[in-house]
């Protein structure tokens, strides 16, 4: 279970990524967040951006058009 959740369902690119980044900024290092969304492009956009920014992508899953990404803040 992640420390926080962020519901991005109904948001289109690039809102899910931007909302994820703004929330990460306010979190403590080491904490995890589960981001949930349904816009297809945003799933890869978020995971790729997290890797570039040095955060850990703990898990990625998808079911019925809704995806979940769990991220651990690393810096």
């Amino acid at each position: 279970m992640a420390d926080e959740t962020l519901d991005c369902k109904g948001l289109i690119c690039p809102r899910p990524l931007f909302e994820t980044l703004k929330r990460l900024k306010r979190m403590e290092t080491g904490k995890t967040i589960e981001v949930v969304g349904d816009y297809p492009f945003s799933k890869s956009e978020i995971t790729e951006a997290m890797e570039k920014l040095g955060h850990e992508v703990v898990s990625v899953s998808e079911e019925g058009g809704t995806w979940q990404i769990v991220i651990r803040k690393r810096r």
Binding site: G10, I12, P14, R15, L17, F18, L21
Partner: protein, 157 residues
């Protein structure tokens, strides 16, 4: 980290939308991003509550021709008596996108630097005190070129 500069010449709603989207997208990934607002782009960074009285005819004319801030922009096409702009704003709201003014604040939060070119300010009689707080500095073209010469991507919008 890569560096991006954008020269925002246009004061069109759709071009401003694209400019802030690209700027924020890059800054969100840690890029060093700078936006230079020039000519009609000055209207985007004007604060509608910070008006300065103008007396010269040319200054008055440009004062009314320039947008009064990011919420006063119009789209460049299908702007039938501004219906296009209204419809686009409704679409953006329906898709839960931010208004342009909020996109500007978000870009700032992601670390985008805001510069305004001094030349059109002189030509159109726009004062430093008319701008929103997000504007970091008024600068010369030379200052912009110093930034642009080692940037990885330079865009003119």
């Amino acid at each position: 980290m890569p560096k991006l500069t954008l020269v925002v010449f246009s004061g069109d709603f759709d071009r401003a939308f694209v400019a802030f989207t690209i700027a924020s997208r890059a800054a969100a990934e840690g890029w060093d991003v700078l936006m230079l607002f020039t000519f009609w782009g000055l209207g985007i960074v004007r604060d509608p509550n910070r008006t300065v009285p103008k007396t010269a005819e040319a200054e008055k004319a440009f004062d009314s021709a320039l947008a009064r801030g990011a919420d006063d922009l119009r789209i460049s096409q299908t702007s039938m008596a501004d219906l296009g702009t209204t419809m686009m704003k409704e679409q953006m709201s329906a898709k839960k996108m931010l208004p342009i003014r909020e996109m500007m604040k978000e870009a700032k939060e992601f670390g985008v630097k805001f510069l305004v070119c001094n030349i059109p300010m002189e030509l159109m009689g726009v004062r430093r005190e008319e701008f929103v707080d997000e504007v970091d500095e008024v600068c010369s073209v030379g200052r912009y070129l110093e930034e642009a010469k080692d940037a990885d991507v330079n865009l003119f919008i």
